[in-house]
Amino acid sequence: MTTSLKHINHYFWLTLVALLMGAPILIGIWASLLPTADIAAGHLTSTNISLNNYIAAIQTTPVLRYMANSFIVAILITAGQFVLCTLAAYAFAFLDFKFKKQIFALFLITMMLPFEAQIIPNFQTIRVFGWLDSYAGLTIPFFASAFGVFMLRQAFLQVPDELHEYSQLIGLNHLQFLFKIVLPYSRSTLITFGLYMFLTHWNDYLWPLITTFSDSYRTTQVGLKQLQAQDTFSNWGVIMATAILILLPTLLILLVGQRYFKKGLNTGGLKA
């Protein structure tokens, strides 16, 4: 009796908090179904619930192009980071070289540096390279990630020394050891890392905002901002529909990758 009362109590509060936290998204989804005129008039309901805003979003805005761009950018960055961070993390985890500690400390220091502080030099660099408004400019500055190196190094350190010794015994070279033992051994971290990086860069805003100048390269978040008129009136219904569309891949990844995110958070790897 008391336990079931307790349960009801718990569920009541949890539901309440969940509703509070989910409210912006729920309201967004609801608004995406209303005609803009009704939203503008401040009505919360309408007799005209439809998917018209979604159709309008796809037909009249380049949202699909934006999503394709985000997808390409996020995939490229994830792949680039995967390659570079894996190799760097391998060096820090398994190789002995002079000033290893100092160099690693340098890596960590760059992690403390907020990306905002790197924007200006990075911008100058890609400007000089002629990479403004291109996939190169959108992705290459993110290929090296101190956080990625750190996270993967921590994962690689979990590989028992004995496996490293064993790999030497059976004559694996560094790359073989990396690909045949280290990577499969760390696969859950790698999956977490990949999903996390994909999401992070799917949601990139500031950098695409200042380095893209055409719809050919704009990403979703920047595109969404584009749709939000400043001097004139915003078509909120379409904006909401677009926002929900953009949200879908994120939700999908979260749904599928939840287990790995939890794992990543539990081991503290994602706290940074």
């Binding site: 005129a37 403004l132 408004d133 499969p184 999956i191 008129a229 001097d231 009136f233």
Partner: protein, 459 residues
């Protein structure tokens, strides 16, 4: 699930990732430059603008018309955010692969100071283009030393919009064509009281361009040296009787409880528009360029009047707002010529007429009113022509030329003063403080930009 998949395919995934990385490297290193590459033998001209929403869609349509009208050039329009954002993007990317050939910008002073353009006058002269077909009152704001620097494509003026249905519903007399402050205050008060507070009578967005126009309408400049037109301005003139009258009027309405303050920030304007479209605001002041949006979204009858004038001061007229088209210096002769062809196309009567009908911007070409579509629209709704009538009725003087000020912090500090005044602070104190701050900014700017300013005003 992933784990299983991963386990089976990890080596493949690793290899694929590596291959992708290599490919990106190659692809990326050979990313084509955004120079005018010939597509189907056409010269591509990138065109940065700040038109979005319905206005942006119409602009795209006009550009499309140009592209279809000839085969030599292809203009690619790119929305780059607000004028301010587009301007900073433009400045940050001068001489790079993304520099546009054609740039729409409202900030004449900064564009002039940056100086990275070819004055349109050169093409006008070479082409014997007849500038007389355009309204001189609008052209004047874009001239330096008598030479046209850029082409005023989208001209606007500030107007008052009001909800005619609300006025009728609550039995308030419609506004006159050139309303005075007290007329608006009375109407706002009546609306608020008769609707028992369901409607707020009026608003004036915290947007410095608005009080600047209200001051111009009282023949008052906002910076010295004839609004910075005769030589570089050295001081702001904000704590003037004209400004004081404007804010006394606003504070009066705030006291009446008939005023809605939409605050500041990027959404203030959108919220104000939403409030008006939602029938919650009776009167508001905005660029005539908002008419297109209102026409599309309003489900009620609405009216448009001249910018309000102070009770004891006859309307002097307002400055032409909007923006002009600039041709980049950093491009080949062929591209620049293409840009000029594009500008000519956009300024033709037909395009300007379509532009006014669709957006509420003023058709700059005098002949546009004779285009049947625009003529019909004006006949059907005479208020469509209010902005043009206002411009024609206005005087051409320093106040209506608008301030010419390089890099000042006018907007920031006048905005702050507005916030303070709306919050109840003393008008004169707020304006004085703003004036002092702006003066400091002007002094610094003039000092650091001495050479540029000298070049701009050298005669």
């Amino acid at each position: 699930m992933i784990e299983k998949f991963w386990h089976r395919w990890w080596s493949l995934i690793c290899a694929t990732m590596a291959v992708i990385a290599v490919i990106i490297g190659l692809v990326v290193a050979t990313t084509p430059q955004h120079q005018a590459q010939a597509s189907n033998g056409r010269i591509t001209l990138s065109f940065w603008h700040s038109m979005n929403g319905p206005n942006g869609q119409l602009l795209d349509k006009l550009v499309d018309g140009f592209n279809k009208s000839q085969t030599k050039y292809k203009v690619v329009p790119q929305y780059e955010g607000s004028y301010g954002l587009a301007e900073s993007k433009y400045i940050n990317t001068l001489h790079t692969n993304v520099t546009p050939t054609i740039m729409q910008q409202s900030d004449i002073a900064t564009m002039t100071a940056v100086g990275d353009y070819v004055p349109v006058q050169q093409f006008v002269d070479a082409d014997h283009y007849d500038l007389n077909q355009l309204y001189p009152g609008i052209l004047s704001g874009f001239k330096l030393k008598g030479d046209l620097q850029s082409m005023p494509f989208n001209a606007s003026s500030s107007v008052m919009y009001y909800n005619k249905d609300l006025f009728k519903k609550y039995g308030v007399k419609p506004l006159s064509q050139s309303p005075s402050y007290s007329e608006i205050r009375a109407a706002a008060k009546a609306l608020t009281e008769k609707s028992k507070g369901a409607v707020k009578g009026a608003t004036l967005q915290i947007y410095p361009w608005l009080p600047e126009q209200l001051a111009a309408n009282q023949n008052s400049v906002v910076v010295n040296k004839n609004n910075g037109r005769s030589s570089a301005a050295t001081a702001a003139e904000l704590n003037t009787p004209a400004m004081q009258k404007i804010f006394t009027w606003v504070q009066g309405m705030i006291k009446d409880g008939s005023f809605q303050n939409f605050g500041t920030g990027s959404s203030a304007s959108a919220n104000q528009m939403a409030g008006f479209l939602g029938g919650k605001i009776g009167i508001f002041m905005q660029s005539s360029a908002a008419a297109g949006t209102i026409a599309k979204a309003a489900k009620f009858k609405w009216g448009e009047t001249f910018t309000a004038h102070a009770d004891d001061v006859p309307a002097n007229g307002v400055a032409a707002g909007g923006a002009s088209l600039w041709i980049s210096k950093d491009k080949s002769k062929a591209e620049q010529q293409g840009a000029w062809e594009f500008i000519k196309y956009m300024m033709a009567p037909k395009q300007q007429a379509a532009w006014q009908i669709g957006t509420g911007y003023i058709a700059v070409n005098k002949a546009s009113v004779k285009v049947p579509a625009l003529a019909a629209a004006i006949k059907k709704n005479p208020e469509t022509n209010v902005p043009i009538k206002q411009l024609q009725a206005g005087k051409v003087n320093a106040a209506t030329a608008g301030p010419f000020l390089v890099n000042s912090q006018m907007d920031q500090y006048l905005g702050t003063a507005m916030q303070q005044i709306y919050g109840g602070k003393d008008i004169k104190t707020s304006l004085k403080e703003a004036e002092n701050e702006v003066n400091k900014g002007i002094r610094d700017t003039n000092k650091s930009n001495a050479a540029i300013l000298k070049a701009v005003f050298a005669q």
